[in-house]
Symmetry: C2
Subunit: 319 residues, 2 copies
């Protein structure tokens, strides 16, 4: 019995925590960093409460092509709400969306995107919105893969999240995506609870309706959690500087910069989309998830760049 | 040896987790609630991840008389900064403050308070501000007790925080006070880490100064975390409804209302300041920590009211 237990313990100690990562430089860098900060007595030991790790979502934890998944949600909402909004038949960006012409709808740039998100996200109570997101996630399918959107998460990143948590890291999402769009499924999908999700945030208004208190989503932008907004979101929600940051696009540049400029051991990592066959390949010229500045800076900043094609032996979890 | 261990285990099981609480109704109500939601198999069992408890700070975890402690901090900052602001000698509310006339300074109402807070809190980087708060907390003394401000915390509430955490609750501060004013000392004083502190929040701006990234505090109000702002702050930061809320003034009314209106077992508690001898006695007519609406509603809402005089055998921790 004792021998069996011992054998089991030894096999546990030697189990690979990152089996979907090839034995290339990024995996080695991650594991060296984690061992360094968790070895008590080492000069680079970091106490558990300071082991904060932040993850971008779109393109870092799940796919983001051919468009941000939240945009597909918004389009489905526009279609569902259209009968109540006859004016959308002629008003942009809604008219183009209802005709199925996403490209024309988005020709209006950030303003068009903002209008789409606000029209589909505001007005509901937080509980109504949570229900709408949960139902959509359970039924909607990605237009190219035909799979549920929350199955298009990266298996290597799921392993990384679990590995960090097993080493007493607290893992947070810090995403340009909507905070209330991510919270309903982030715990089940990533093991990240609602209070550890940071994202772009709209307004909220407290009301008592027929004796029942509700929080109503209002059409303001309280935090644009992208670019320079990411360190702001980190400070506002977490209140201390992370020691590790994981991103994939130039929208993550300041989050990586802020994280890795701190004192003591730091880790920055960029997921580079290089696998047209198993996922998508894009970087400097992409309209979504553009990665140019980050790719140039990675070497001087000491950030690890992961090539999905070379460094990951698996992309998505097996169904 | 086994007998000793057994005796130790039994004594642990019977140790009183709330020794500073008298054996009156509030203590009984707290312990019944905690036992109910933590007994697996019971109809009112709540899974650990949903055991969210929120605490007001001023008047609930520490004293708030004769003025909010953060105001003493702001006044000390005004004095320290005055040499750089000759205009404050004639400009209100600063002129009165510098003459030591707090009452005249605050005659300007919320606008005066806002000006004082912004003048003393904005302009610094988050790291500079943290240093200023930490130094002040280590040296400043309460004008009446002569004690450090963070020693004027309530021993019964420290026991309650520890008791809830021992029962797998996650404890949060949700305070009208400044989020960055509380974070530097909340972990050491209350065991509440920065990411579990919600408070009134100013603006933040990300800048790179001579190659070093900083977050600069700006003079805007992003969240007024009081009254209807408390449920908003809870949703923004925590993203789910707490099952227990602890407050002391009408500024906590909506937080208590929002928390206890949820489905399943809920707990709301109001600390009533009834002890002029050991602390302060005030409620309906107080200019600080006014408690009137909450006192009227407690019975119909099922909120527990703690009389500091009757229900607590100790107020402050022994030095």
């Amino acid at each position: 019995m004792a021998a069996m237990l011992f054998a089991f313990a030894v096999s546990c100690l030697h189990a690979d925590p990152l089996p979907s990562w090839n034995s290339t430089a990024p995996k080695k860098a991650i594991m060296e960093f984690v061992e360094k900060v968790t070895t008590s007595g080492s000069a680079e030991y970091v106490q558990p409460s300071d082991r904060i790790a932040v993850f971008d979502n779109d393109g870092t934890l799940w796919s983001e092509q051919p468009a941000y998944f939240q945009l597909f949600f918004a389009i489905d909402r526009i279609k569902a709400l259209a009968p109540k909004h006859p004016e959308w038949q002629t008003e942009e960006p809604f008219a183009s969306l209802l005709k199925g012409d996403v490209k024309a709808a988005l020709a209006g740039g950030d303003k068009a995107l903002f209008d789409i998100v606000m029209a589909t996200h505001a007005g509901l109570t937080t509980e109504e919105f949570e229900k709408v997101v949960t139902e959509w996630m359970a039924t909607a399918k990605h237009p190219q893969s035909g799979k549920p959107f929350n199955s298009m998460v990266y298996q290597p990143m799921l392993e990384l999240l679990a590995y960090l948590r097993a080493n007493q890291f607290k893992t947070f999402i810090v995403s340009g995506g909507g905070i209330e769009f991510m919270r309903p499924w982030a715990e089940k999908t990533y093991g990240i609870p609602p209070e550890q999700v940071v994202g772009s945030s709209g307004g909220l208004k407290y009301e008592v309706r027929d004796g029942t208190p509700v929080l109503v989503k209002t059409p303001e932008l309280v935090l644009n959690d992208d670019n320079v907004g990411k360190p702001v979101g980190i400070q506002r929600h977490i209140g201390r500087r992370p020691i590790a940051a994981f991103g994939n696009s130039d929208g993550d540049y300041q989050m990586l910069e802020w994280t890795t400029a701190g004192n003591g051991p730091r880790f920055g990592l960029i997921v580079h989309h290089t696998d047209a066959e198993r996922e998508y390949a894009y970087d400097r010229d992409s309209h979504i998830g553009k990665l140019s500045k980050g790719l140039d800076a990675a070497k001087t900043k000491g950030w690890t760049v992961v090539s999905m094609k070379e460094d990951w032996n698996t992309i998505y979890p097996s169904p």
